[in-house]
């Protein structure tokens, strides 16, 4: 036992059944004198510490794009370790003719040519099945112009010879009503014909063509796993091929491509195992294909001058994309079912050098042959990472401190408030000599708790209204106002959001608070802890979203208090509210894509994004909307409430 610990034990004097903690830190905290010194330090240096911590968080994040924190990607899984396969795919002409036929039949029928696809898949030797599905969206989707959706998915299974259909790989091509993905269908069929002639398959391969792009994929996945997550009506699947290991989605809009763009961000910010990306990247290098990430060329020379800027931009784009929580391609929906997946998009820009379908087909063949060698599910490499470039990554251990520093600000502020609340009745110098006869805690807590119930309840109720009312009240709104349903949803959303600002800052008048200063301090303390908990949980599962919210909400949350320049504080708070963050992110995103928005365009995009967010929650189960409506918005309202405390 150290001396400090023994003294603490003697001083505590409550028949110590609990063994004394070893270590100097515990002694430091349990020693009342040192504890008081530490508390005074935290109180006095609170503001500089907060600023330092915030700046450290932001700086750490920006430093993630640079070499000491980014590492080269490397293949972890032994089974797919080398690219030693000989690609033999040569069906470029076949792919083009399939694509032409598909496009012609599609123009004739106006929808997916199911009969033609079935016939063609059967003729190349697949086991063919169809699945019909229908879905009534909660409100009309104006971006994609759809409301009552019904379609048919077609899929063919290549059965691995002499195997028992326990594992499978998926190659999927989404066919939207507007997107011209016929070249991808052509390549899929040509690859199927080539794969069918090979003897080496150990896993079944499912070739899936879905209608209504992501809706079809969701319907197929739900039916394959025989679950109903989103209220999709679909027919049962007739054929299955065991547990799906990996899925690759393909989008091509032309016969030739200049580059292939890889999308990894999935639903709710889930990412596929990094090995899948590594595998694809090695085959790109082997075939000399040009691959991009977030639509940006990869820096050829890692020491060039514009590289730092470029990798920061790529990193930011990935963070924005991941934070949005929307599937960045059909692969995003596979991730929920623990199927590692990514989307490849063929880009045809104005560059001189172009690749034909054979090059893309060879890369895919190589990827599938290596995946065929997998003995276990992909699990060796990282599931949580950020990508500043295709060949560089930041692992979870290195990026978490950035968010940690930001959340520390909330912790420090909460600590300060907690101490102030406890010592509010006595002066700082005599606080130490408080005798045991008049403990300051009970009255403080009782006052605080009574005045906290009303604002907490009301802000949560507003959050609930924000979540429920727009979709529930769309028909009422459409009847009474000259707006369409989709507009009604967005406008209700904004109206409830704005109404929330007016409501709760009057709530504390309902309860009579004897000590007004303590009222807001207790409320802010609760709000700070609530915010810190939420952000910490979000950061663990979706770092990008957590970091983005922390970077914007933390300073305003820390600064908010009823005294001081109230209009300035209010403006800051409004600018960092969840909706404003969304608007700002949209501008930043377009800025990074080098397609800056004007204000009016930005507003239109913002309204569309709101509608999409609500829709994606109902259709795919994206969690961003409920998270903002039920979690962060009420929490933000608490700070608003603190600001207008009287």
């Amino acid at each position: 036992m150290t001396r400090a610990a023994r003294r603490a034990g003697a001083v505590a004097g409550c028949g110590s059944a609990v063994p004394e903690p070893p270590g100097a830190a515990m002694g430091l905290l349990s020693d009342p004198v040192r504890r008081r010194a530490l508390a005074r330090l935290v109180l006095r240096l609170n503001a500089p510490l907060c600023v330092l911590s915030y700046v450290a968080g932001i700086a750490w994040f920006l430093a993630l794009a640079f070499p000491p924190l980014t590492q080269r990607t490397y293949m972890s899984e032994n089974a797919i370790g080398s690219t030693m396969v000989e690609e033999q795919f040569s069906g470029g002409d076949r792919a083009r003719s399939f694509a032409r036929d598909f496009a012609a039949h599609r123009r004739k029928t106006g929808s997916l040519p199911v009969a033609w696809l079935e016939r063609t898949m059967r003729s190349v030797g697949l086991e063919v099945y169809t699945q019909s599905f229908s879905r009534k969206l909660p409100f009309p989707d104006e971006t994609h112009e759809r409301y009552m959706v019904s379609g048919i998915n077609v899929y063919g299974i290549l059965r691995a010879p002499r195997a028992a259909s326990t594992e499978s790989l998926v190659l999927t091509v989404p066919c939207g009503p507007d997107s011209t993905n016929s070249q991808a269908v052509g390549l899929l069929l040509a690859l199927a014909a080539h794969f069918r002639g090979q003897i080496y398959w150990a896993k079944d391969i499912i070739f899936l063509v879905t209608e209504h792009d992501l809706l079809g994929t969701e319907a197929w996945l739900e039916a394959y796993h025989d679950v109903n997550v989103t209220g999709m009506q679909s027919s049962a699947l007739q054929g299955r091929a065991g547990a799906i290991q990996v899925a690759v989605a393909l989008e091509l809009s032309s016969d030739v491509v200049t580059s292939l763009d890889v999308a990894v961000e999935g639903l709710n910010g889930q990412l596929p195992n990094l090995d899948l990306l590594n595998l694809f990247q090695t085959f790109c290098q082997k075939g000399g294909l040009l691959c991009t990430l977030q639509g940006r060329l990869q820096p050829q020379d890692w020491t060039s001058v514009d590289r730092p800027l470029q990798s920061v931009q790529t990193l930011l784009l990935m963070v924005l994309q991941q934070a949005s929580g929307r599937p960045h391609g059909p692969h995003g929906l596979f991730l929920r079912y623990r199927v590692e997946a990514l989307t490849l998009r063929g880009i045809n820009s104005f560059r001189q050098y172009k690749y034909d379908l054979v090059a893309v087909g060879k890369a895919l063949e190589g990827v599938f042959r290596k995946l065929n060698h997998l003995l276990e599910r992909l699990h060796q490499s990282f599931f949580f990472y950020l990508l500043p470039a295709l060949s560089r990554f930041v692992s979870i251990g290195l990026y978490m401190p950035a968010a940690g520093f930001l959340l520390l600000v909330l912790g420090l502020k909460a600590l300060e408030l907690w101490m102030q609340l406890h010592e509010a009745g006595v002066g700082p110098e005599e606080a130490g000599r408080t005798s045991g006869s008049s403990p300051p805690f009970p009255p403080t807590q009782s006052v605080g708790l009574a005045s906290l119930v009303a604002p907490l309840l009301i802000s949560q109720a507003v959050g609930l209204a924000l979540y429920v009312l727009p979709v529930l009240g769309q028909h009422v709104a459409a009847q009474h106002f000259p707006v369409a349903e989709a507009e009604a949803v967005v406008l209700t959303l904004l109206a409830v959001y704005a109404a929330g600002l007016a409501l709760p800052h009057n709530t504390h008048r309902v309860v009579s608070a004897q000590v007004p200063d303590r009222g807001w301090m207790a409320l802010k303390l609760v709000a700070l802890i609530y915010l810190a908990l939420q952000l910490a949980c979000i950061t663990l599962t979706n770092f990008s979203l957590g970091f983005l919210l922390a970077a914007t909400m933390v300073p305003a949350a820390a600064l908010t208090k009823p005294s001081g320049p109230r209009p300035l504080c209010a403006a800051l708070l409004v600018l960092t509210s969840p909706a404003a963050v969304l608007l700002g992110s949209l501008f930043l995103w377009r800025e990074l894509q080098e397609a800056p928005l004007s204000l009016a365009e930005g507003w239109q995009l913002f309204l569309a994004a709101l509608a999409q967010g609500v829709l994606e929650h109902h259709v795919y189960g994206a969690l961003l909307f409920p998270l903002l409506a039920l979690g962060l918005y009420p929490c933000w309202l608490l700070f608003w409430n603190v600001l207008f405390w009287e």
């Binding site: 270590g23 030797g125 010879p161 054929g239 276990e376």
Partner: protein, 476 residues
């Protein structure tokens, strides 16, 4: 679909239960036969059967004690040439003569389906079964794939399939025959041409349908022609269209539904495609103990209505000792799909109980379906010793139905798996952190600290403490 139907057919072919012969069998040494079945999809199935019988004075136990009946299944087996070589060595002619010259590993493992079996059983030598012969029967079935092996062509010959031709029968064989299924698929005329033209044909009812076979007896010297080899050739007169192939009356599908690593559901779909006849099916499931079945969630639905099984036998699992055993007799209505589903929860294994490849998943053995499936054509009971060997694989209980045993596909289920790459770090770190931090923080949070002036107690207390110190008891 190329492989699925032959797969089903051959599964029944191989796994249909053998019957007991009643009459005294002749003591022949070896019968061998090869059955070639061209399928409309362009694939072709080939089944070898070799039967050896010998007398032995091993006494068979009287009657069968069902208490000793055991059922075991290894759900995962990858076949390769190592499975074939020892199997071939059991043949009397090895692979030197007779039909077994066709058993070349490099061709047999270029097929889409492969099934190999060894059956040993006692056969009664007389009606009262006082002495028995032993029968060793070896079967091998393969399906050649038109897309892989045939490069898209649908015409086959022995040479194309096995890269060998038949030259002579096995000298030890008492019977050595090749049967080719020449049943015409359309009504009007023959769709399949066989060369050389067969000297004899054979008709029988197999699996409830009438089949016609061309028969080539290798012991007949006219069959092996002047060039001293028999290269059977099959030609389709009209190329079969690539339509969806016909489905059998009974087929099944099994899958795991749900996602995540906690709960799931085992579902078995039983299809009865017969247009008007219902028939019962005996479903046997063995599920490993680490999938904890919730028996109250067992639901059986046909055509949207609950289907009550007429018999259920359930034996619960014991951890690490015995798997779940679930056996049900279910009536399948005509032209219906019956779904049998049961919920399960994944158990946590001890960390030494995981396989070396835990992230591959754990196999669940297939369900076994046994059924009497209605026949299209009534079959006559035949003399099993006279009829071809393949016939005895399909015992007919009465004229209106035939016995079928189906195995569904095995399942691969992922269990919650720890990260084995750093168990030491994780275990040590978490235990230390929990022990140190939790204890101390709990201590800090639950206590209140205040400074107390060190006070010397009264005289009585000091005396008491002196006494206590002398006794070795902590002071007051």
């Amino acid at each position: 679909m190329a492989a699925a139907v032959p797969l089903f057919l051959l599964v029944l072919l191989l796994l249909g239960s053998g019957g007991w012969s009643q009459a005294e069998p002749p003591r022949d040494s070896l019968r061998e036969e090869l059955v070639i079945t061209p399928l409309p999809s362009g694939d072709v199935a080939a089944t070898f059967q070799f039967r050896t019988r010998w007398d032995l004075d091993l006494q068979r136990e009287k009657g069968t004690d069902h208490y000793f009946l055991r059922y075991a299944v290894l759900p995962r087996e990858v076949v390769c040439t190592e499975n074939l070589t020892p199997w071939k060595k059991l043949l009397p002619c090895s692979s030197k003569a007779g039909l077994s010259v066709l058993l070349k590993a490099d061709r047999l493992f270029h097929t889409s389906y492969h099934s190999q079996a060894v059956h040993i059983r006692p056969v009664c030598r007389n009606a009262r079964c006082t002495s028995v012969s032993w029968e060793l029967r070896q079967t091998l079935s393969v399906v050649f794939d038109a897309f892989v092996t045939g490069q898209g062509k649908k015409d086959w010959s022995l040479f194309r399939m096995f890269s060998r031709t038949l030259t002579e029968p096995c000298p030890l064989a008492s019977e050595s025959r090749v049967y080719v299924d020449i049943t015409s698929y359309s009504q009007d005329n023959e769709t399949l041409e066989v060369y050389p033209p067969p000297l004899a044909t054979y008709q029988d009812v197999i699996l409830g349908t009438r089949r016609t076979y061309a028969v080539y007896d290798l012991l007949d010297s006219a069959v092996i022609n002047n060039s001293r080899s028999l290269n059977l050739q099959l030609k389709w007169k009209r190329p079969p269209e690539s339509e969806a192939p016909p489905v059998p009356f009974l087929h099944a599908q099994r899958y795991v539904s749900g996602y995540g690593l906690q709960n799931g559901e085992l579902s078995t779909l039983l299809y009865n495609t017969h247009p008007y006849r219902a028939f019962p099916v005996l479903l046997l499931d063995t599920v490993p103990w680490y999938l904890r079945l919730y028996v109250h969630t067992l639901t059986i639905t046909s055509k949207g209505k609950e289907n009550k099984p007429s018999y259920i036998h359930y034996q619960p699992a014991q951890d690490r000792l015995q798997p779940h055993l679930l056996e049900m007799l279910i009536q399948l209505p005509a032209s219906s799909v019956t779904k049998v589903s049961i919920h399960f929860e994944r158990a946590l294994l001890k960390w030494t109980e995981y396989t070396p490849d835990p992230n591959h998943g754990f196999y669940v053995s297939p369900s076994v379906l046994s059924a009497l499936v209605p026949s299209v054509v009534a079959a006559k009971p035949v003399d099993w010793d006279e009829s071809p060997l393949f016939n005895t694989l399909f015992p007919v209980s009465d004229s209106s139905s035939h016995f079928v045993r189906l195995y569904t596909e095995p399942l691969l289920v992922n269990l919650p798996t720890p990260d084995f790459s750093m168990p030491y770090n994780v275990i040590c770190l978490t235990c230390t952190v929990v022990a140190v931090c939790y204890g101390s923080f709990y201590n800090l949070l639950t206590r209140t600290f205040r400074i107390e002036e060190p006070r010397t107690g009264g005289l009585a207390k000091r005396l008491a403490n002196l006494l206590r110190r002398a006794r070795g008891v902590p002071p007051l």
